[in-house]
């Protein structure tokens, strides 16, 4: 055992590929001046990888490259890589890239004795010299096996070729078709190219294909051992490299508003921490997307860039739907502050979605990222795979101080679960619930957890209206929590009671006045009665006295008639 440490020895010189992620897992790039074998089955991206290493070498690291193709011609390959944004014609014109199409038509060939592949060497040497190349790609050299009948000669010549490339100090990429069974390549190229072997793999799981990259061997250097998902996107190849969770990201005490005043209030009055992750979980229709959209819109209002990943609705649909609750996303999209990226979750595997998100986040550089919903991404995956993969995403966003909001669909009811096991990775967890009572569904919200801040323990009612999202105090009383119209009814009931109380007093006073009037009337009636009686009595007395006088007169008259004039004389 040598006592010298690895660090004190000169390390292997590496040629950077410029490919996101690949340089990280190879510890700095491919072995410089040596050949690397890239193998994999058909359609897994060997040619693209090789071409990108070449183009990036030529454009970013001033290392011109020669691309020798055995299967496609120059026009075809130029067209193929144009989709990655590489303009080979221009690079060829600038003498940064040289293309050579080596083609052997088996039917034209007749072997007439001893030969070698000096023609290939001369062409390669010529191409290298013409542009001062440092990198060489042979794609796919195995095609020669179909063109040349004498494999013995071919193998010997290939061995000489790789040796020759090494001697010339070329950083070479040799692509090879995956062999059957455990064979790395069909014609055993790994026998000759032993410095670095990268295996690309495309596999299907639940009808979704995922591409993965693995460094099978890298002589003389430490390298990542895992399988890394990769994606061939519009910006080329990218490998998702984050494997170890280094929990050393910077934190900030800066807070960002969620855009919902009362929610901010619940979160210690100022909203969430910048760079933290927020999980919004709830059953269908609890308003998860709305909260995410509000957060995004608020970020845009602050002048920050935001990225919205939608896995349920199309861009136009989101814009329309959010407008209905007063969230105007279109303005920000037009201003370039907001990018809505909608795609089907089943379009790719989880890893590839993450690679794509990674890519977009890198290029767009947002301050806020929303994923709606994260639970859709995991539909087709086994649970065991999901958590570490999502961890990579969360970690990546945190590292870049990006505030992230993820919505997650739960089955509804009380089964909040552990949210794919990711809730523990979240800094803030808002739980939305449907409350069904007296024949209607209402939404409630509460802060399940929020790290590093005093947050409210109250349940609030969550109301979506034309004017936006509002949080309303729920009705607390009679030892029950009421929401929605039940709350409104209860409130109305109380209002009515108060109004009634007031009205009662008035009524009593009015009643009293009425009684008073009635009594007065009664008094008047009795008086009238007494008056009437008095009149009666007076009348009777008068009558009586009249009768009496009449009686006297008639007595006098009778007396006269009987001779009693006396009385008349009287």
């Amino acid at each position: 055992m040598s006592k010298r440490t690895a660090a004190s020895l000169p390390t292997l010189r590496k040629a950077r590929t410029g490919i996101e992620g690949l340089d990280e897992i190879t510890g700095g790039g491919l072995p410089a001046g040596r050949p690397t074998l890239v193998c994999g089955s058909a359609g897994c991206g060997k040619t693209m990888l090789a071409m990108e290493v070449l183009v990036r070498g030529a454009t970013q690291f001033d290392e011109p490259g020669v691309f020798v193709m055995f299967e496609e011609n120059a026009a075809e390959i130029t067209a193929n890589v144009r989709s990655l944004g590489f303009d080979l014609d221009a690079l060829v014109a600038e003498k940064k890239i040289a293309l050579d199409y080596v083609h052997i038509e088996r039917s034209e060939i007749e072997e007439t004795g001893d030969y070698d592949l000096e023609g290939l060497f001369i062409r390669l040497g010529y191409a290298i010299d013409s542009i001062g190349a440092k990198r060489v790609v042979l794609d796919t050299v195995e095609a020669l096996f179909a063109g040349l009948p004498n494999h013995g000669v071919l193998r010997a010549e290939l061995r000489r070729l790789f040796r020759w490339l090494k001697d010339r100090g070329m950083t070479a990429i040799i692509t090879g078709e995956k062999g059957e069974g455990s064979a790395i390549t069909r014609y055993g190229l790994e026998e000759y190219v032993a410095d670095c072997v990268i295996v690309l793999d495309q596999r299907m799981h639940a009808q979704i294909s995922t591409r993965r990259l693995r460094i099978l061997k890298y002589r003389g250097t430490a390298h990542g051992m895992n399988e890394y998902p990769f994606l061939i996107g519009t910006h080329g190849f990218s490998v998702l490299p984050i494997t170890s969770l280094q929990l050393d990201h910077k934190v900030t005490t800066q807070r960002v508003s969620t855009g919902i005043a009362r929610l901010d209030e619940m979160l210690g009055g100022q909203g969430v921490f910048r760079g933290s992750s927020v999980l919004v979980s709830g059953a269908p229709g609890t308003g998860k997307s709305s909260i995410a959209a509000k957060l995004v819109e608020t970020a845009c209002r602050r002048g920050e860039r935001a990225l919205f990943f939608a896995y349920e609705e199309s861009n136009a649909q989101i814009i329309r739907n959010m407008r209905s609750i007063g969230i105007d996303l279109e303005t920000w999209v037009e201003k370039g502050l907001l990018t809505i990226h909608s795609s089907r979750p089943t379009l790719r595997g989880l890893e590839q979605h993450l690679v794509m998100m990674h890519d977009l986040v890198r290029t767009f550089d947002p301050a806020v990222v929303a994923v709606d919903p994260i639970s859709n991404l995991t539909m087709a995956n086994e649970d065991a795979e999901v958590k570490p993969t999502l961890m990579r995403l969360f970690d990546f966003l945190k590292k870049d101080q990006i505030t992230a909001v993820f919505t997650s669909l739960t089955g509804g009811g009380d089964d909040e679960g552990s949210q794919l096991g990711v809730s523990s990775l979240m800094d803030t967890w808002l739980l939305l619930r449907n409350v069904e009572f007296t024949g209607e569904h209402n939404r409630t919200i509460f802060v399940r957890k929020s790290r590093g801040m005093a947050h409210s323990n109250q349940v609030r009612e969550f109301v979506l209206s034309d004017s936006g999202i509002e949080l309303v105090d729920v009705y607390l009383g009679d030892s029950q929590v009421l929401t929605g119209s039940a709350r409104i009814a209860r409130e109305a009931q109380e209002n009515a009671a108060a109004i009634l109380d007031g009205q009662d007093h008035q009524r009593r006073l009015r009643q009293l006045a009425c009684r008073r009037k009635a009594i007065k009337a009664q008094i008047a009636a009795l008086q009238a009665e007494a008056d009437a009686e008095a009149e009666e009595v007076k009348f009777a007395i008068t009558q009586d006295s009249l009768r009496k006088r009449n009686t006297h007169q008639s007595t006098d008259a009778m007396a006269q008639q009987r001779g009693g004039t006396k009385r008349k004389k009287q």
Binding site: D100, V102, H103, I104, E105, E108, I109, E110, E111, T112, G113, D114, Y115, D116, L117, E118, G119, L120, I122, R123, G125, Y126, A127, L144, G147, L148
Partner: protein, 102 residues
């Protein structure tokens, strides 16, 4: 068939031999080719010998991979012979020459 053969028998041959430098194999190929042409195509062939080490662009243009390579451009169809041209019978067959070897 007979007519075709006669056509070949009288046609003019355009041949180009690509070699790499003055290696023994190249020299063998040149002398073998010359001998075949002189023997079987006397007076009706154009043979050009190209050293691709000196004209590498030619190698690219003409799709030369193995060396030596002899290309028959005329009469059609195009044929390629790779090797040191020591297998005379194969070459004659490939050239469409129906001759009895001595």
């Amino acid at each position: 068939m007979k007519a075709a053969m006669t056509a070949f028998a009288s046609a003019r041959y355009v041949l180009r031999l690509y070699v790499t430098g003055l290696s023994p194999r190249s020299m063998r190929a040149i002398s073998n080719t010359r001998w075949i042409c002189d023997t079987y195509l006397s007076g009706r062939y154009d043979l050009e010998v190209v050293d691709i080490a000196q004209h590498p662009a030619e190698a690219k243009d003409k799709q030369i991979v193995a060396a030596p390579t002899l290309i028959k451009t005329l009469p059609q169809p195009l044929r390629r012979f790779i090797g040191d041209m020591s297998q005379t019978e194969r070459i004659l067959l490939g050239l469409g020459l129906d001759v009895q070897l001595p």
